[in-house]
């Protein structure tokens, strides 16, 4: 049985004035996923999200949320989504409990749900506090509590951690992971990659209103690796059946060439000595000491290179403390997939 996607966006277009802000965007969000929607400011993320949340109607294309067309059944969609806009406001001169009681009444859910949500979001101890006196992080947490009141299947969060301090970001991330464990599908937009890297299972990257890449992070990374650098890649016409499939057919935007990967190696002792052991090895593009006990090695290839290098260094008696990629998988995908033009 094939599972129906929680969110299905197909050939979505939207225009403001004479400018196409979203152009032929197509992607699916599977049930129970934490889906990262990435793109620079002005890429069209918020417009896409507003269409998904029924606040805008698509000018062309179709968007379905849990099987409901956002154009034709906005009321049904509103019942199953919890949408938190970016920089969302709150009512200041009421307490946390009053705020949630208001929304529970507005959603038509029993008032005892408020206690459950207060517990879930760890706001119970602040329930009598005036909203005006809360920190930004706590207000954001209250916003999350609000959208949980009617127990929606899908949470749509537009830049939920923007303007938050590191502690609040970590708390929000932990809360999202907890919500995912409760079976919620979470659609998360951000332009801060570190915010998404730890929690997302799948991503879509938007640039200048066009979708550049979409799918599970591991799958995209694997496909990118499989494509190899330009010099080693055969022409598309001669690729044959064993050619790596394109990551996505997003309106004719080709995937960029594979970049050189970097890995950080931390050792006990002098990194300069290790540098001599690494330089000139097979696949090594370059190496550089970045601190007395750390060096960065550039290479082309897959993770087998890292395994071989570690085996070689250990055999040479190098006390390795840690080996980690210089960039997270998501950062690498983003850099390789986007062009970085001004939006």
């Amino acid at each position: 049985m094939s599972a129906r996607p929680a969110i299905r966006v197909r050939h979505l277009w939207h225009r403001f004035g004479g400018m196409d802000v979203v152009r032929d965007v197509t992607f699916d969000v599977g049930e129970g996923e934490i889906f990262g929607f990435i793109g620079p400011n002005g890429a069209g993320k918020t417009t896409t999200i507003r269409v998904m949340s029924t606040l805008l109607e698509p000018m062309a294309g179709r968007v379905e949320v849990d099987g409901h067309d956002v154009t034709l059944e906005p009321e049904a969609v509103r019942k199953i989504i919890g949408y938190m806009p970016d920089h969302a406001g709150v009512y200041d001169r009421i307490t946390v409990r009053e705020y949630l009681e208001f929304f529970s009444e507005a959603y038509g859910v029993p008032p005892d749900v408020v206690d459950v949500v207060l517990e879930l979001t760890d706001l119970k101890k602040l329930e009598e506090r005036l909203v005006a006196t809360m920190s930004k992080g706590m207000k954001q947490r209250l916003g999350l509590a609000r959208i949980l009141l009617h127990d929606p299947k899908i949470l749509i969060l537009d830049e939920p951690a923007s303007d938050l301090d590191p502690r609040a970001r970590i708390e929000i991330r932990d809360l999202l992971l907890e919500l995912r464990s409760l079976g919620k599908t979470i659609f998360l937009s951000s332009h801060i990659l570190t915010e998404l890297a730890d929690v997302c299972t799948s991503v879509a990257i938007l640039e200048k209103g066009r979708l550049v890449v979409a799918g599970p992070i591991s799958e995209i990374a694997e496909r990118m690796r499989a494509r190899g650098p330009v010099s080693q890649r055969r022409p598309a016409s001669a690729a044959g059946a064993d050619a790596a499939p394109p990551v996505i057919t997003a309106a004719g935007v080709p995937l960029p060439d594979q970049a050189v990967h970097r890995v950080k190696v931390r050792v006990i002792g002098d990194a300069h000595g290790v540098l001599r052991l690494v330089i000139g090895g097979p696949g090594v593009q370059g190496a550089q000491v970045t601190s007395p006990s750390q060096l960065t090695v550039s290479y082309q290839g897959d993770e087998r290179f890292v395994a071989d290098m570690v085996r070689h260094l250990v055999a040479q008696g190098v006390p390795i403390v840690a080996v980690e990629p210089e960039r997270t998988e998501l950062e690498r995908i983003f850099l390789e997939a986007t062009r970085g033009d001004l939006q």
Binding site: S2, R10, H11, S53, T54, L55, E57, A60, G61, R62, D66, G67, T71, L72, P74, E75, A76, R78, K79, I80, I81, Y83, P85, H87, A88, G89, V90, Y91, D92, R93, I94, E98, F102, F103, E105, A106, Y107, G108, L130, G143, R146, H150, K153
Partner: protein, 561 residues
């Protein structure tokens, strides 16, 4: 019976809609909670009350030094107090309500509220009742000061109670007006400034009209004092009960309050509704009912005027034209046609022809407003002609002719305005452009011909010899009618002919524009439908390919197995 696999998932079964009663409107409760924590409210109330008491004491003190009876002092204080209270309400009411929706938008809480599923009606009513409660607090805090006149006499308890009732009624209207403005605005300051500017201009004008009506009331019922601003409560207590009492003192004020209040409510609802939803039906319904009520009321006044029915009908037709102009400006904001969302809802709910006729679409709006407007105008005219025929004096032929000129001119010019509005709307993407162009067109048509006539030096004679060159101005019809009314001598055919030709020309222009608008909007709707159909075909083809691929994969899997 459905098996477990076939049963719809829980999430697809819609929960029962939230029960929102007037008492438990969550928006009202939340707004009142927020207001209760606003520290400045008691200080504002105290200041207004103290200032009113001081002013009233000053007026009373000054009057006591002159040789006027205590009853006169009491009456003066009564009118002074309620005049002050009127201005407090007319300024505070729109300002308080202007805060409400614009603040939600500016504070970025509006989307969260909208997505709860609360209907625009529930939100609007919650906002209205909370703003009205705040304004009512002003009235209640002023109430003890309003009892000062009892120390002197001259007014009865019933008059004071009725005056307070009128004040509460008026407060409702001003709050509804502020809410309608607020519903359109994204910015809180802009909402307050706009409402205040309109209130500062309109409030004294309405007050002046109220004072001037006291002379008419005195003429009808001599027990009602003339020239006093707060005359309606006195008239309600002192005038003898009868048809006139019921019509002019009860139904008239109620209709004069209810129709604008309903209009403001529908405008608020339309502004709170998404642009792709149905924002038209409510306002259209208001226009049709208003046209019918004013036409029936106007016809009743005309019949009641007896022998002067034709003149009264001409005046009624001229007054009625204000509603037609308001309707035209309102319908200039109509979308070209119903959105996909509205069409789907019509299909789902099995909407009938009437529901669809009242739905979104510039041609639908123009057709229904023309039908309702011209129907009402015909009723008033028919009543005037019948009145003149049955009870008219020696001038009844020319009175009827004057009425016909005003009515046909009004009808012709209304057809022009409606047609041009529809054409402008069909040619532009914005809803403001047709309104601005319509305003310019209206101004030019009203004043332009007179300016041309003045420049040509043709205005040398009296108004009775209105120059033919001014005939394109709708004012010309009123001038000609005023010249004809009450006369028995053979009239000059020139101005009558000029007015008739101008009316026909306006109507012809309007009809031409209407046809052009119908073609244009029809083409736009056809192109939109074709684009939607193409999109649906594309998606259906994709679905078919995906299904085929899935079947092939399953087949391959089965073969491997």
């Amino acid at each position: 019976m459905l098996s477990a696999d076939e049963a719809p998932p829980m999430s697809s079964i819609p929960p029962p809609p939230p029960v929102v009663t007037a008492r438990h409107n969550p928006v009202f409760v939340r707004e009142m909670r927020q207001s209760a924590r606003l520290l400045r409210t008691p200080f504002i109330l105290m200041t207004v009350t103290a200032m009113t008491a001081f002013l009233l004491s000053a007026v009373g003190g000054i009057m006591m030094t002159s040789k006027v009876s205590p009853a006169e002092v009491g009456r003066a204080l009564h009118h002074t107090f309620f005049s002050i209270a009127y201005f407090v309400v007319s300024l505070a009411g729109p300002t308080v309500s202007a805060n409400s929706i614009a603040q939600e938008r500016e504070g970025r809480t509006w989307e969260a509220l909208l997505l709860t599923g609360l209907s625009p009606g529930v939100i609007a009513r919650g906002k209205f009742t909370s703003a009205y409660t705040s304004v009512a607090m002003f009235i209640v805090s002023l109430a003890p000061v309003g009892a000062l006149p009892f120390l002197f006499g001259g007014v009865t308890v019933v008059e004071v109670v009725l005056a307070f009732a009128c004040l509460f009624l008026g407060a409702g209207l001003w709050v509804a007006f502020g809410l309608a403005v607020s519903s359109k605005m994204e910015n809180l300051r802009a909402a307050i400034v706009v409402t205040l500017i309109v209130a500062v201009v309109t409030s004294p004008a309405i007050y002046g009209v109220g004072v001037s009506l006291s002379w008419a009331a005195h003429k009808q019922w001599p027990a009602v004092p003339e020239g006093w601003p707060v005359w309606l409560p006195s008239a309600l207590e002192r005038a003898p009960f009868g048809w006139e009492y019921l019509g002019y003192l009860v139904l008239g004020p109620l209709v004069a309050s209810a129709l604008p209040a309903w209009f403001f409510y529908e405008v608020t609802l339309a502004n709170l509704t998404s642009v792709t939803d149905d924002r038209s039906t409510g306002i259209r319904r208001w226009f049709i009912v208003s046209a019918a009520v004013l036409a029936v009321g106007g016809a009743a006044v005309v019949v009641g005027a007896g022998g002067a029915g034709a003149g009264a009908a001409a005046a009624m037709a001229a007054t009625y034209s204000w509603l037609l102009v308001l309707g035209t400006f309102t319908f200039a904001g109509e979308p070209i046609g119903p959105s996909r969302r509205v069409l789907a809802r019509w299909e789902r709910e099995g909407a009938g022809a009437l529901d669809r006729a009242l739905g979104p679409g510039v041609m639908r709006a123009t057709t229904t407003s023309l039908a309702a407007g011209l129907g009402g105008l015909s009723l008033i005219t028919a009543a005037g002609l019948a009145g003149a025929g049955l009870w008219g004096g020696p001038s009844k032929a020319l009175d009827s002719l004057a009425l016909l000129i005003v009515a046909t001119y009004t009808a012709g010019f209304f057809v022009f305005l409606a047609g041009v509005t529809a054409w402008l709307r069909a040619r532009t993407n914005s809803v403001m452009t047709p309104r601005i162009l319509l305003l310019v067109t209206l101004g030019l048509a009203l004043v332009g011909p007179w300016v041309v006539a003045a420049i040509g030096g043709a205005m040398a004679g009296s108004l009775g010899h209105a120059p033919v060159v001014a005939a394109p101005s709708p004012i010309y019809a009123l001038v000609v009618a005023a010249e004809l009314g009450g006369r028995t001598a053979t009239p000059d055919l020139g101005p009558i002919l000029a007015a008739s030709i101008a009316a026909a020309a306006w109507a012809l222009l309007g009809l031409t524009a209407l046809v052009a608008a119908a073609r244009r909007s029809g083409a736009i709707i056809a192109a939109y439908d074709a684009a939607l159909a193409r999109g649906d075909e594309l998606l259906a083809a994709e679905d078919a390919r995906a299904a085929e691929g899935a079947r092939a994969a399953e087949g391959a899997q089965a073969a491997e197995g």
